[in-house]
C-alpha cells in the first residue's frame, strides 16, 4: 500500500507538484481577505446566554467600551491637585472630546462632571466641577475638597491617593480603540506637563494585542521555520532535500489559513497560532521519512526503490500519528468556545493535508532530485556520522546505549516513573485556573505598566455589573384591567358607555411600544386619559379621572427602584462587598441618591442617606437631573425604574478575582435573600472573561477525555492488541502528567493557551510511541527475539525520534522572545512536549517490555529470547 502510493507519486511527480501548487495558490489567494478579531467576548458564541445578557445590559444602561487615561503625579506634595497638573488634565480632556469616535456626552473627567453641593445653608448649586483650569493652588485645593465629597467620583476619577486622576473615554466602536489611543498619545506628547500618562482599558489592550499578534505571525512563525530548516540541514546535509519539508510545511500552513479565511472566519488570537502549530507537525512526518531515507540509502542505491521501501514501512505509523494528532485537535471542537473550535478544526484539516503531502509530495520531490544530489547527501551523512568514532556514529552509539540502559535498569526506571507520577499528581492538584487578557502582555509591556500603576492608585480599572431587575412587570397591564373594570361597570350602570373609548385609548397607547415597555405605555395612557377627561362630555369626566388615577398609581408602583427599600438592599450589598475587599469600589443609584440627598438637606455626612419615601427618592433624582449631565442617571437605572445596576470596579482582571466577587455576592444573597420578584444577573467584560474561562475548562476536560479514549481505541485498533494499545498511551500519559504537574508546582495558572495545548500534547506525544511500537513489532516478528527487536528499534527509528524531538524543541525557541505571553507559553510547551515525550518513550517502553515481555510478545518469543 505505502509502496504503491510512493511509486505512483514518484511516477506522476509532475502531477503531484501541479495539484499541490494549484491548491496552495487557490487557498493562498484567499489570505489577503484576512480580518483580525481580538475581542475576548467572541470567546463565547453570539447567542451564549451570559453574552446576550451582557450585551443587553450594555445597551440598557448605555454602557460603552472605555479607554482609560491615567495622569499620575507622585512628586508634587499635593499630588495631582496642583494648577499645572489640573490644567494639563483639563486640556487633555477637552482635546479628547474632539476626537472622532469618542462619545463626548459620556466622557468622564474632572473637566466634564458636575459638582452638586450645598454652597451655603439652604442654597444648592449645580455647576461644573472644573469649568476652567485652576490658576492658583487654592483653586486646586477647592477642587480636591469638592471631589472628595462625591463618592461617585472619588476613587474613580481621582485616586484616593490624590496622586492620580483618570479620564474615562467611551468610544463608539472597539475597533477604533488603537487609533483613538494613538491620537490621545499624540495629544499627550504635545502637553506641557511633567506628569506620567498611562493609557489602558480593555479595548486598548485588545486592539494592541491584535496589532502585535499580527507582527508575531509575521516574525515568530517564519523564525521558527528558519531554525527548523537549519537544524534539518545539520542532520541531513542536503539543501535540496531539506527544502522539501519546508515547502511541505509552507503548503500546509497556507492551505489551512487560506481555507479558514476563505470560509469567512476571522483570525482570532487562537487561529493566529495555527501556523506555529502546523509547522512542526508537518515537519515531523517529513523528518521520519527523510531520517529513514538517509539511514537506508547507500551510495548508488536507486532512490526510488529506497523511498518506496521507506514509505512502505512508515505509512502506517505516519497515518496513525497524523490521525491521533488531528483527533487531538478536532476534539477542541467539543469546547463551547468558537475561536477554539475553529482553531481545532483547521489544525486538524492541516494535519491531514500534511500527511497526504508527506506520502505523495515528499517521495515525488525526492524522485525529482538528480541522483547526484541524493548520493551527495547520503555520503555526507555517512561521513558526518562516521566522523564521530570508529564504525558507529555518535547518535547511533548513544541511542543504542540508551536502549541497553533502559532494558538493563528496568526496575529502577519504572520505580522512578511511578515516583514521577506521584509528584505529577501532586503538582496537578496545585494547578489553579486563571486568566486575564491583560496578562497576555509581558510584565514590562506599556499596557501592563499602565495597568499596574493605575490599579495601584485607583479603586480598579476592571469593571463588572450586577443588575437587579423587578420581574413582575408583565402583570401590570393585567392589574390595570382588573382595577379599571369596576369603574367601567359603574359608568355603564350610570348610563355612560365609555368602555369602547377605554379600549380604544388603551390600544392606542400600546401601539408603538413593545410589551416590555409598560412604563411608556402607561405614560401614553395617562396623556390620553387626561385629554379624554377634558374633552369628553362633562358628566363622564369623573370616570376618566378615576381611570387616570388608577393608571398613575400603577405607574408609580412599577417604579421599583425608586423605593427606599430597593436602594437600601443595593447599598447594603455594596457596603458588604467593599468592607470585605472583594471589590475596589462600587457605585449605584443608591450612592447617587444619598449624595444628592445630603447636599439637598444639609451637606453634612449625617444626611448621606436614602430618603424615607419613594417621592423623596424621585425628587432627589429630579434634582440630580437638573445638572449638566442628566443622562448619566441611565447608567444606573432604567427609565422605567424596573432595573438598576451596580457598577463594580475591580483592581484585578484575574478570573480568580472575579470569581471571588461572584462567590461573595452569592454568599450575601444567601444571608440576605433578594427581595421577592427581583432577579439578579451579571454583566461586564471581566465577568464575561470568567464565563468563557469556565466554559473552556469544562470543554477542555471533555475534549481531553474524549480524545484520550479515541486515541486509546485507535492504538488498540492499529496494533490489533489491547496491551500494545495501552502501552502506546502510557508515555503520553506520563508526559502530560509531568508537564501539568510541573506547571502546578511552579505556579503557572491554567489559562487559555495552556488549556488548548492539552489536546495538542495528546496528539503529538503519542507519535513517538506509535513509531516505536510499530517498528518493534515488525522486528520482533522477523527475529522472534524481543531483545534484538528492541536493539533494532534503537537504531534508525530511535534516531528519527531523537532528531525529531531536537528539531522541534529547538525550532520553537524563537517563540520565547515574543512579547505576547501566549506565544511564549506555546513555545515552551511544544518544546517540552517533544523533548519529554521522546525521553519518556525511549526509556519507558523498553523498561516495561523488559519487565513483562510475555505479556506483549507471548510466551514463545519471551522464552526464545531468554534462551538465546
Amino acid at each position: 500500500m505505502g509502496r504503491l502510493i510512493a511509486r505512483f507519486s514518484m511516477r506522476h511527480r509532475w502531477w503531484v507538484f501541479g495539484v499541490t501548487l494549484a491548491i496552495v495558490v487557490a487557498t493562498g489567494l484567499l489570505i489577503p481577505r484576512l480580518t483580525i478579531d481580538t475581542d475576548p467576548e467572541n470567546m463565547l458564541p453570539a447567542d451564549q446566554p451570559d453574552r446576550v445578557e451582557h450585551n443587553r445590559i450594555q445597551e440598557r444602561f448605555d454602557l460603552h467600551d472605555m479607554i482609560v487615561v491615567g495622569v499620575v503625579n507622585e512628586q508634587h506634595p499635593e499630588g495631582i491637585f496642583n494648577p499645572q497638573s489640573l490644567s494639563a488634565l483639563y486640556q487633555l480632556s477637552e482635546s479628547i472630546e474632539d476626537i472622532e469616535g469618542v462619545i463626548e456626552q459620556d466622557m468622564l473627567s474632572l473637566a466634564t462632571i458636575d459638582n452638586v453641593e450645598q454652597v451655603s445653608p439652604g442654597t444648592i448649586s449645580f455647576d461644573w466641577m472644573m469649568s476652567e483650569p485652576p490658576s492658583t493652588q487654592a483653586e486646586a485645593d477647592s477642587i480636591r475638597r469638592a471631589i472628595q465629597d462625591l463618592p461617585m467620583f472619588y476613587g474613580t476619577l481621582v485616586a484616593e491617593t490624590d496622586q492620580a486622576a483618570g479620564i474615562f473615554v467611551p468610544i463608539e466602536s472597539k475597533d477604533e480603540s488603537h487609533r483613538i489611543a494613538t491620537e490621545i498619545q499624540g495629544i499627550i506628547d504635545e502637553l506641557d506637563s511633567n506628569d506620567d500618562f498611562h493609557i489602558t482599558g480593555q479595548p486598548v489592550a485588545q486592539d494592541t494585542f491584535g496589532v502585535e499578534m499580527f507582527q508575531q505571525m509575521a516574525i515568530s512563525a517564519p523564525l521558527a521555520g528558519l531554525l527548523i530548516f537549519l537544524l534539518m540541514l545539520y542532520f541531513f546535509r542536503s539543501l535540496p532535500l531539506v527544502v522539501a519539508p519546508m515547502l511541505l510545511a509552507m503548503a500546509t500552513v497556507i492551505t489551512a489559513m487560506g481555507l479558514l479565511i476563505g470560509m469567512g472566519y476571522t483570525v482570532h488570537i487562537m487561529s493566529s497560532m495555527i501556523p506555529i502549530f502546523l509547522m512542526p507537525i508537518a515537519v515531523v512526518d517529513s523528518i521520519h521519512v527523510l531520517s529513514s531515507f538517509a539511514d537506508r540509502c547507500r551510495a548508488g542505491d536507486d532512490k526510488q526503490l529506497v523511498m518506496a521501501e521507506v514509505i512502505q514501512s512508515l505509512y502506517k505509523p505516519l497515518i496513525f500519528t497524523s490521525l491521533t494528532t488531528s483527533v487531538g485537535f478536532a476534539s477542541l471542537m467539543l469546547t463551547p468556545i468558537p475561536p477554539v473550535q475553529i482553531f481545532g478544526a483547521f489544525v486538524a484539516i492541516g494535519v491531514l493535508f500534511a500527511i497526504v503531502l508527506s506520502l505523495t509530495f515528499l517521495p515525488a520531490f525526492v524522485a525529482a532530485l538528480p541522483q547526484k544530489t541524493v548520493d551527495g547527501m547520503v555520503s555526507r551523512v555517512r561521513t558526518h556520522e562516521e566522523s564521530g568514532k570508529g564504525a558507529d556514529c555518535r547518535l547511533c552509539r548513544f541511542m543504542s546505549a540508551t536502549g541497553r540502559f533502559a532494558t538493563r535498569h528496568a526496575t529502577p526506571l519504572l520505580v522512578t516513573f511511578a515516583g514521577l507520577v506521584v509528584v505529577a499528581v501532586y503538582g496537578i492538584n496545585q494547578i489553579y485556573i486563571n486568566d486575564n487578557p491583560t496578562r497576555w502582555f509581558k510584565e514590562d509591556h506599556r499596557i501592563r505598566v499602565a495597568d499596574r500603576v493605575l490599579n495601584e492608585h485607583f479603586a480598579g480599572t476592571y469593571e463588572a455589573y450586577i443588575v437587579l431587575e423587578q420581574t413582575r412587570v408583565g402583570d401590570l397591564m393585567a392589574t390595570l384591567n382588573e382595577r379599571a373594570e369596576p369603574v367601567l361597570d359603574q359608568a355603564a350602570e350610570d348610563g355612560h358607555a365609555i368602555r369602547k373609548d377605554w379600549s380604544r385609548i388603551l390600544e392606542q397607547s400600546r401601539s408603538g411600544n413593545t410589551e416590555n415597555e409598560v412604563g411608556a405605555t402607561l405614560d401614553e395612557l395617562m396623556f390620553a386619559l387626561e385629554d379624554q377627561s377634558f374633552n369628553a362630555p362633562r358628566d363622564q369626566a369623573q370616570y376618566w379621572d378615576e381611570l387616570l388615577s388608577i393608571t398613575e398609581r400603577i405607574r408609580s408602583e412599577a417604579q421599583y427602584f425608586q423605593k427606599p427599600e430597593a436602594l437600601r438592599y443595593m447599598d447594603n450589598m455594596q457596603t458588604w462587598l467593599e468592607e470585605r475587599d472583594h471589590v475596589g469600589k462600587s457605585s449605584s443609584l443608591a450612592d447617587l441618591v444619598q449624595t444628592i440627598n445630603r447636599e439637598l438637606v444639609s451637606g453634612e455626612p449625617q444626611d448621606y442617606r436614602i430618603p424615607d419615601r419613594p417621592s423623596g427618592v424621585a425628587q432627589t433624582i429630579l434634582s440630580y437631573q437638573s445638572s449638566h449631565r442628566p443622562e448619566d442617571l441611565w447608567h444606573f437605572v432604567s427609565e422605567d425604574y424596573e432595573e438598576a445596576s451596580i457598577w463594580l470596579q475591580l483592581p484585578s482582571g484575574d478570573n480568580r478575582a472575579m470569581q471571588s466577587v461572584v462567590d461573595a455576592v452569592e454568599q450575601y444573597k444567601d444571608n440576605h435573600p433578594l427581595p421577592e420578584g427581583v432577579d439578579m444577573t451579571w454583566g461586564g467584560s471581566t465577568y464575561i472573561n470568567l464565563v468563557w474561562q469556565g466554559e473552556m475548562v469544562e470543554g477542555m476536560r471533555a475534549a481531553l477525555l474524549s480524545a484520550s479514549v479515541f486515541v486509546l481505541a485507535m492504538m488498540i485498533l492499529l496494533f490489533r492488541s489491547f496491551v500494545f494499545g495501552v502501552l502506546a498511551v502510557l508515555p503520553l500519559t506520563l508526559t502530560i502528567a509531568l508537564i501539568y504537574g510541573v506547571m502546578g508546582l511552579i505556579g503557572k495558572p491554567y489559562d487559555m493557551p495552556v488549556a488548548v495545548l492539552s489536546s495538542l500534547s495528546l496528539g503529538l506525544s503519542v507519535d513517538f510511541a506509535i513509531h516505536f511500537i510499530q517498528r518493534l513489532r515488525a522486528e520482533a516478528a522477523e527475529t522472534g527475539n524481543w531483545r534484538q527487536a528492541i536493539d533494532a528499534v534503537f537504531e534508525e527509528p530511535a534516531r528519527a525520534i531523537t532528531r525529531n524531538a531536537i528539531v522541534i524543541s529547538l525550532g520553537f525557541l524563537p517563540l520565547l522572545a515574543a512579547p505576547l505571553v501566549p506565544y511564549i507559553t506555546v513555545g515552551i510547551f511544544l518544546a517540552s512536549i517533544m523533548a519529554l515525550s521522546a525521553v519518556v518513550t525511549l526509556l519507558m517502553l523498553p523498561a516495561i517490555l523488559r519487565a513483562i515481555p510475555s505479556l506483549f510478545f507471548g510466551r514463545e518469543i519471551a522464552r526464545a529470547t531468554r534462551q538465546e
Partner: protein, 271 residues
C-alpha cells in the same frame, strides 16, 4: 451691534400684540435690535401675565422616554423683570415639586425649589443656567429666556417669512455654543427655529416651534421641539390651556407658594 435676542424656548409664550404692527413689510424693515427685542417680547412677555400647562416628552439619545407635566404661571414686572412659578403634577412621585424664578435681565436670577417628598425649600445658587431643566433637553435658560444683552446680534438674512439673526456670546467662556442662528417669523416675531453651533462650526442643538396658535390675541407657540443634534434625543413640549392677562397677583410668586401652591391659579380654566 447692540441687539437683542430672542430665545429659543417659548414657554411663557404669547406675544405682545400691542408691541408691533402685525405685518412688517420689506420696506419698513425694523432694525436688528428691534427684531430681537420684539422676538423676545413675543416669546416671553406676551400679555402682562400668563398661564400654561406643559406636557413634556423626553426622548433620550438611546430612545428612552420620560414624561414631565407642570403648570407654569408668569407675571411681568418692570424693566424686563419677570416671575415664574412652575408646579409639577407628573410623574406622580414628583407632584407638588415647585420652582420659583425671579428673572432679572442683566443680573443673576433668583431661583427656589421646593421638594415635597423631602419637605425642603432650597435656593438654587446663581450659576450656570445652561443646565438641564428636570432632565429634559431644555435648559433653565430656555424656560425663562436668555438675556438679550448677553449676545451680539446680527441680521444675516431676510427671507419672505423670516428674519435670520445670528447671536454671538459676549462672553464665549460662559456658554457651550460659538453662536446661534434664529429664524424669526416676520409676522408674529416668534422665533420659529434656533440652531446652536459649536466651535467646530457644527450644529449640535436645535429648537423648533412646530405649531403656533393665537390665544387671547397672542400668537403662541404651542408645540416646541428641542433636539440634541450631536447625541440624538429630543424633548417635545406641548403647551396647553394657555391664557393671558389673568391678573395674577404678585403674592402668588412668593416663597409661601412653594409649600402652598396657589390652587385657584393653577386650576385648568373652565371650558
Amino acid at each position: 451691534m447692540k441687539n437683542r435676542v430672542l430665545r429659543t424656548l417659548v414657554i411663557g409664550l404669547g406675544l405682545a400684540a400691542t408691541a408691533f404692527a402685525p405685518a412688517a413689510s420689506a420696506q419698513d424693515r425694523p432694525s436688528t435690535m428691534e427684531i430681537v427685542k420684539r422676538a423676545n417680547q413675543a416669546s416671553f412677555y406676551a400679555g402682562d401675565d400668563g398661564r400654561t400647562e406643559a406636557r413634556m416628552r423626553i426622548v433620550g439619545s438611546s430612545g428612552r422616554e420620560q414624561v414631565r407635566q407642570f403648570t407654569m404661571l408668569r407675571r411681568d414686572g418692570d424693566q424686563g423683570r419677570q416671575q415664574y412659578l412652575v408646579v409639577f403634577s407628573r410623574p406622580a412621585d414628583v407632584r407638588g415639586t415647585v420652582f420659583l424664578v425671579e428673572k432679572n435681565p442683566g443680573a443673576d436670577d433668583n431661583r427656589w425649589l421646593y421638594l415635597p417628598g423631602l419637605d425642603l425649600v432650597r435656593r438654587i445658587a446663581p450659576g450656570d443656567k445652561r443646565t438641564s431643566f428636570v432632565g429634559s433637553h431644555v435648559y433653565y435658560e430656555d424656560v425663562s429666556g436668555r438675556d438679550i444683552q448677553a449676545d451680539e446680534h446680527e441680521l444675516i438674512e431676510t427671507t419672505d417669512e423670516h428674519y435670520v439673526v445670528r447671536s454671538t456670546p459676549k462672553d464665549p467662556d460662559s456658554v457651550e455654543f460659538a453662536y446661534f442662528d434664529t429664524r424669526i417669523d416676520r409676522d408674529t416675531f416668534l422665533p420659529m427655529e434656533s440652531e446652536y453651533v459649536n466651535a467646530d462650526g457644527k450644529i449640535y442643538r436645535r429648537m423648533k416651534i412646530e405649531e403656533v396658535k393665537e390665544i387671547d390675541g397672542y400668537p403662541t407657540g404651542v408645540r416646541m421641539r428641542m433636539e440634541d443634534v450631536a447625541n440624538g434625543g429630543h424633548t417635545l413640549v406641548q403647551f396647553r390651556y394657555n391664557a393671558y392677562d389673568l391678573g395674577i397677583p404678585e403674592s402668588v410668586f412668593s416663597e409661601r407658594s412653594l409649600r402652598n401652591p396657589p390652587r385657584e391659579w393653577l386650576q385648568r380654566p373652565e371650558r
